[in-house]
């Protein structure tokens, strides 16, 4: 009995040794936390797909300085507790040098203390402004800040001299963060919020809220949420015969929104990452090349359109690749190299990280788009 146990132990030890040797020889492990299942699966699944796609491509073309990348993906289910467990596992068991994700702001906020303590750089794919404000030493992000999207909408309202504005936000993390920014920035653009209402992520009828908004004489409505709520609102909005301009958030900037809302989507405006209208961008746009390459690759691999959520992970892997190439495959090297990123033309925008800015984008990352005849076009 004891001989057999000895043998097992020996074999196990050899296996362990050989795998760790293999790691040291040629692969760089990076971790990824995406909510591939659960309510935010519409974020996590495309993010996982595009991260894997880019990593495979990097490996096919020789890796980074001759070293292959290995992507370790864990599904967080959209659950912050699980995200923290998985982050710990990535760091302690898998010994990754950097982490991509998580998909949502709530999960990211929960994971931040873990990566800060263990000094592992993390590039979050979620939008909440508070992720990088104030700056955390090891935390970066690729998704555009909500505040940039809000500024883009308010700028246009100000130009059109629309001051009485109603907002309708979803009662989850995304909506709460948007609502905060909408309220915080209103004063700066001379905007008066006449109705500040919310709806539940699973609600199926918002005519009550819209009836109240109609009665308020608001001059424009801004809806902040992710599918399917805003599509329901667009339908209810047409049903009630409201005629004011309808703005949405970048949370629904995909063809999916038009598919869901149908004719009711017509005329809806929103600030979007450029990926939605890549083919309509002027030739001189610095992001154009990256955008078209991304769309082509994603279409080829997954037979479906790459949206800007997939783009967040694309950007994160590309940023990591550059950081590893410039700073070496150690957590601290990656962190320092990330902070030196200048003019990286990605999917979400042109990134310029610095020690005081770990979000890296300006409001030029957004363009105003509008639905015309069942398609997204650049809004005037």
């Amino acid at each position: 009995m004891s001989t057999r146990m000895m043998t097992t132990a020996l074999v196990a030890a050899m296996l362990l040794l050989s795998t760790s040797l293999a790691c040291a020889a040629g692969t760089i492990k990076i971790g990824a936390l995406f909510s591939v299942t659960g309510p935010p699966a519409f974020l996590g699944e495309p993010e996982r797909n595009s991260a894997q796609m880019v990593v495979n491509e990097i490996n096919r073309s020789g890796g980074i300085r001759g070293q292959q990348l290995q992507l370790v993906v864990y599904d967080t289910n959209g659950d912050p507790t699980k995200a923290v467990q998985m982050a710990t596992r990535l760091i302690k068991d898998d010994h990754v040098v950097a982490i991509i994700g998580p998909s949502t702001t709530g999960e990211t906020m929960a994971v931040i203390p873990v990566v800060e303590k263990d000094r592992i750089p993390m590039i979050s794919c979620s939008a909440g402004s508070k992720i990088t404000e104030p700056v955390k030493r090891y935390v970066f992000k690729t998704a555009q800040n909500d505040s940039l999207a809000v500024a883009k909408i308010y700028e246009q309202l100000q130009r059109q001299r629309l001051q009485r504005v109603a907002i309708l936000t979803v009662s989850d993390g995304f909506g709460a963060s948007g609502r905060e920014q909408l309220k915080a920035l209103a004063g700066r653009y001379g905007i008066h919020l006449v109705v500040d209402d919310t709806y539940g992520p699973k609600d199926t009828d918002m005519t009550s809220q819209l009836t109240r908004i109609r009665a308020s004489q608001a001059q424009a409505l801004i809806v902040w949420g992710t599918n399917p709520g805003p599509a329901v609102i667009a339908k209810n909005f047409r049903q009630l015969g409201l005629r004011i301009p309808l703005y949405m958030s970048h949370g629904v900037s995909s063809k999916k929104f038009i598919a869901l809302a149908g004719a009711a989507a017509e005329g809806v405006k929103l600030p979007s990452g450029k990926v939605l209208v890549a083919d309509l961008l002027p030739k001189r746009d610095p992001q154009r090349a990256a955008l078209l390459a991304f769309i082509r690759d994603y279409q080829r691999h997954y037979r479906t359109e790459g949206d800007h959520f997939a783009g967040h992970a694309w950007d994160a892997v590309m940023l990591l690749k550059m950081a590893i190439a410039n700073g070496g495959a150690t957590p601290e090297g990656i962190r320092q190299a990330l902070e030196r990123t200048r003019n990286f033309h990605g999917i979400g925008g042109t990134f310029n990280y610095s020690p005081t800015d770990h979000a890296g984008l300006t409001k030029d990352a957004f363009v105003m788009v509008q639905v015309r005849r069942g398609n997204w076009v650049l809004a005037p």
């Binding site: 699966a41 109609r214 399917p228 015969g241 809302a261 149908g262």
Partner: protein, 294 residues
């Protein structure tokens, strides 16, 4: 816009939503009356109705008029299999373990739907256009009329079935006293199977007629099921008019609450009502204590 029109709009929206709750609620009570268990997979029948229709439309390019009956048929078959595979083998089990079986069944169905189709939200085309109809300043969609109309027809059919057909009367007999019903030659097991088949069909139809307005996805069953359950509780688990009224009251209160107080409390309103009814009038809003349930 003056308050009167606003109130009318809240009322109309509430009635349309409430009709759906009523349909789902009746599914709960039919099974409850035949078996004494609460079938928590009822919401999943609703989800399946919508999702199967979407699938038939998109993947098989069937026209809407063909996809709807076929989807109802498929979901009915699911209800049949559910009873055969999950409920019947455990006929000697206590109601509480059967209720837990239905919870397990609902998780299974939801997971299967997610794996077979996807995690996306889908929309169905409206049955007859999207041009709103104006009623004294308030507006409704043609689909709302479809919902109210189909609910009305189903409720009437249901009522007729339970009071005028042999099978319906036999099911009522089982609900009063299964042992006595068996003694007079009624096949109680078959009546249980019947109840699942009818509930699945009604749930599926509810899921189909709301999908053009509310969209559908693999996980819509949970909340709709709970709201239907609330409607059934308000109606004292009756499979007739009280549950319909329960659904309508719930829909209108939700809509008024969201419009006049705050939409943040919309779901809370439903569940506060549920708790109040369970505490204060467990026999339902309209029932007399110890009254016979039909």
């Amino acid at each position: 816009m003056e308050l009167g029109t606003q109130l009318l709009q809240y009322l109309l929206s509430g009635l349309a939503t409430g009709a759906i709750y009523a349909l789902i609620g009746i599914g709960f009570s039919i099974i409850y009356n035949a078996t004494g268990i609460i079938n928590f997979a009822q919401g999943e029948f609703v989800m399946l109705g919508g999702m199967v229709t979407v699938f038939l439309l998109k993947a098989h390019h069937l026209p809407l008029w063909a996809a709807i009956p076929l989807a109802v048929l498929i979901v009915t078959l699911v209800g049949f299999l559910f009873e055969r595979l999950a409920i019947r083998p455990l006929r000697k089990a206590t109601p509480i373990s059967l209720v837990i079986v239905t919870i397990g069944g609902s998780i299974l169905l939801r997971g299967l739907a997610m794996l077979i189709w996807d995690k996306d939200t889908h929309s169905l085309p409206s049955f007859s256009g999207d041009d709103p109809i104006t009623v004294a300043g308030a507006t409704v969609l043609p689909q709302h009329l479809w919902i109210l109309g189909i609910t009305l027809v189903l409720i009437t059919l249901n009522k007729w079935f339970f009071s005028h057909t042999i099978s319906g009367k036999a099911m009522r007999a089982c609900s009063c006293n299964p042992r006595a019903a068996a003694l007079v030659g009624i096949d109680v097991r078959r009546m249980v199977l019947f109840s699942f088949v009818i509930s699945a069909a009604m749930g599926a139809l509810a899921g189909i007629i709301v999908a053009p307005l509310t969209m559908t996805s693999y996980d819509v069953g949970g909340m709709l099921g709970l709201k239907g359950f609330c409607a059934a509780i308000i109606g004292g688990m009756s499979s007739g008019l009280p549950t319909v009224l329960g659904g309508l009251i719930l829909g209108v209160l939700e809509s008024l609450g969201a419009g006049l107080i705050s939409s943040g409390y919309k779901d809370a309103i439903a569940f506060i009502i549920l708790l109040l009814i369970l505490f204060l009038r467990p026999q339902g809003l309209f029932g007399k204590p110890e009254s016979e349930r039909v």
